[in-house]
């Protein structure tokens, strides 16, 4: 996968340049009108690019989920069998029983109420329902001053890779970024973050393996303050949400963070693997109970996982999905925009 990254390095740089151009636009340099126009065109292009990329990333998701939805919503009667089939499709997309039942029952009510018998009309309603459920987009944005993002999640969810992608994104926007290597547990986790840091050109505050994660947080926050950093991202060791002592340790890191980061903007980001089934809801719930999760990053949506868990998590816990990972490259970590997501899901 990284070979792929290396291989497509040049392309990355191109995109980085585009992003830098955008940053300049906001900056002090006032480009001539001609230049500005050009930038806008670039901007437009980039937007199309992102949408395309999202669509491509979701391609597999679409193939499984959408094709079924498509064939379900065309040319057939809306009867019990229809709803049963819709139920099956949603369950197979990992939406989960509770949310599925809720969606289907609600749809049934609407059909009864409005006497709908055109499946195409129902499809539009179904789309809107999911859209409503997912709510407004809440992208990860930096406020002025020090922003601290603590990244948590179970083992193997993709925390470190997500951190690398977020830091690259904000660095390219001209922000000063610092990383804290708070995974002092897994063998070579610190090295992994350092390699990323090196590659992106961002400093990493680290202790040795086995050190106290809270102490790393402490040092990282103080370093961030003295270096006048815009964004500090704190990595933490992957842990199963059921491991009580490890969750206690996480709470401690969070306490240190809150104490030392007075005045800074704290943000806890939970990383969830999109291939996860119903367990993702437990993960979100328990991490939220322990450290109060502000947002979710859903990774690995470029596989064949249907990503229905997004709907279930939002429905169950009201925690907003902020970012989604649809590929290996930095720009494959994107803001989660419910409308685009649904649009991409249902695109013809």
């Amino acid at each position: 996968m990284l070979k792929k990254l290396f291989g497509k390095r040049e392309k990355d740089e191109e995109i980085a340049e585009v992003l830098e151009g955008k940053a300049q636009d906001v900056g002090e340099e006032t480009p001539g009108t001609g230049e500005r126009e050009q930038l806008e065109v670039q901007d437009e292009k980039q937007k199309v690019g992102l949408y395309q990329r999202l669509k491509e990333g979701l391609n597999k998701t679409r193939k499984g989920f959408v094709n079924k939805v498509e064939s379900l919503f065309t040319g057939r009667a809306i009867d019990d069998e229809f709803f049963e089939e819709l139920e099956e499709i949603l369950i197979q997309a990992d939406v989960g029983i509770n949310t599925t039942m809720k969606l289907v029952e609600h749809l049934q009510e609407i059909v009864d109420e409005k006497r709908i018998n055109d499946p195409v009309e129902l499809k539009q309603i179904f789309k809107e329902e999911i859209n409503n459920l997912l709510g407004e987009p809440t992208p990860l944005e930096l406020k002025s001053g020090l922003n601290i993002v603590m990244v948590v999640g179970v083992n193997g969810a993709g925390k470190t890779t997500t951190i690398a992608k977020i830091s690259e994104r904000f660095k390219n926007q001209g922000k000063k970024v610092l990383l804290g290597a708070g995974d002092t547990f897994r063998a070579a986790a610190i090295d992994q973050l350092k390699v990323w840091g090196n590659r992106v050109g961002i400093d990493v505050i680290a202790h040795s393996e086995g050190a106290d994660a809270a102490a790393v947080a402490f040092d990282a926050i103080h370093a961030a303050r003295s270096r006048n950093v815009d964004l500090l991202i704190l990595d933490t060791a992957g842990r199963l949400h059921t491991q009580k002592n490890l969750m206690e340790e996480l709470k401690k890191v969070r306490r240190v963070l809150s104490r030392e980061a007075a005045g800074a903007h704290e943000h806890v980001l939970l990383v969830v693997d999109a291939t996860t089934g119903q367990n993702a809801i437990n993960q979100a719930r328990l991490f939220n109970e322990a450290v109060e999760v502000n947002g979710i990053t859903l990774t690995k949506l470029d596989g064949t996982a249907k990503g229905g868990i997004v709907i279930a998590i939002k429905d169950d816990l009201k925690i907003p999905i902020q970012l989604i990972g649809v590929g290996e490259k930095a720009e494959d970590l994107q803001d989660f925009i419910p409308e685009e997501f649904v649009q991409a899901l249902f695109a013809e």
């Binding site: 996968m1 990284l2 070979k3 792929k4 597999k60 099956e88 369950i91 197979q92 997309a93 990992d94 989960g96 029983i97 179970v154 083992n155 193997g156 969810a157 993709g158 547990f185 897994r186 063998a187 070579a188 986790a189 090295d191 992994q192 350092k194 390699v195 990323w196 590659r199 393996e209 199963l240 949400h241 059921t242 491991q243 009580k244 002592n245 693997d273 291939t275 996860t276 089934g277 119903q278 367990n279 993702a280 437990n282 993960q283 690995k300 470029d302 596989g303 064949t304 996982a305 249907k306 868990i309």
Partner: protein, 444 residues
Amino acid sequence: MVFENLAEKLQATFSKLRGKGKLNEKDVKTALKEVKLALLEADVNFKVVKDFIKKIEERAVGYEVMESLSPGQQVIKIVNDELTKLMGGTQSKLASASKPPTIILMVGLQGAGKTTTTGKLAKLLEKQGRRPLLVAADIYRPAAIKQLQVLGERLDIPVFSMGSQTSPIDIAKAAVQYAENQGRDYMIIDTAGRLHINEELMGELKDIKASVKPHEILLVVDSMTGQDAVNVAESFDQALGIDGVVLTKLDGDARGGAALSIRTVTGKPIKFIGMGEKLDGLEPFHPDRMANRILGMGDVLSLIEKAQETIDLKKAQELEEKLRKQEFTFEDFLDQMKQVRNMGPLDQLMGMIPGMGKVKQLKNMQVDEKALDHVEAIINSMTREERVNPDVINGSRRKRIARGSGTSVQEVNKLLKQFNDVRKMMKQLTGMQKKGKMSKFPFM
């Protein structure tokens, strides 16, 4: 506990059935609907669930159940049978090469736990007297090689690596040569995580397979995987022809439905299950025992095996003798505690005891391993005399012990009281069964 939620749901459903003297078709249908929902919530693949329920329905609604004396029991037995079948009958072992080294190739998605499992498997093999070699062929993920090297160091097992500039195929080939020269009889190749739809990287695995001809290709799957587990397993199987599956992260509250689906769809057995952060957290998978655990019938066999592995029989006999003569001391207490703890995390052990899943007070109990650490510290802070003859521990000694162990006098008092209770209990027990067999675990 593994499959906890599933187990709970099924047991609740069955306890309703159990109470009934006679079953009609409707009872069975209602029960099966609940079973279906429980399985779906456990992330078992939708199609697998459908087939499963259909099979049970056919058998359960038939004559053999309705006419039997305890129809409820009969249905449970059928579910148990089918569940065991679903999971693959009996245990499947690792292949071994006629001419060493036996080559094991570890494959899977990113973040499934391949590298950790590779380490754990090596440890398991070494425990069985093998001489494994770890091969670092994940050249893509930053520091993946380092991770394996650190694991190798901790386990004291050699790691073969050629850095991240050599192709995994060349690394694998060179490793075979190395293993032969060094007399290692097993080599485990750790590969990079990859998406099953990434043709380029799947091609790389095919090339490794073609060049070193592994005897065993193990697919590592995260037990928390949802409905997609089936697609992943199918793709890997079609591309490589996997020999078995390792399910990881089973120590969480994963409902483990992926295990059932993968086995059904690919026909390939689950060979190992991984739990916990420690390197000895990999166990052979016993489908029949797991089915029992799911249905709340406990897994006594695994418990006994664990005990046999870790408990020193001679010591146990000595202890029995001591207990009988009521000479049980803090030394023995400490010894026993260490032995039991060696068997693994206590809450995992609890899950194996029949009926434990149903004891309400135990359901949400987290065995506090830290409290046990305190007990150890307290005993370690006692003098020899105090351990052998706890009655001499007076107020000032208690203070000293509390200080020495970093605990409080209250905690010391509590332990002393518990210890006396245990002694009293032993006295009663020995009195009761005179020459009968003593429990080997006074604390359980």
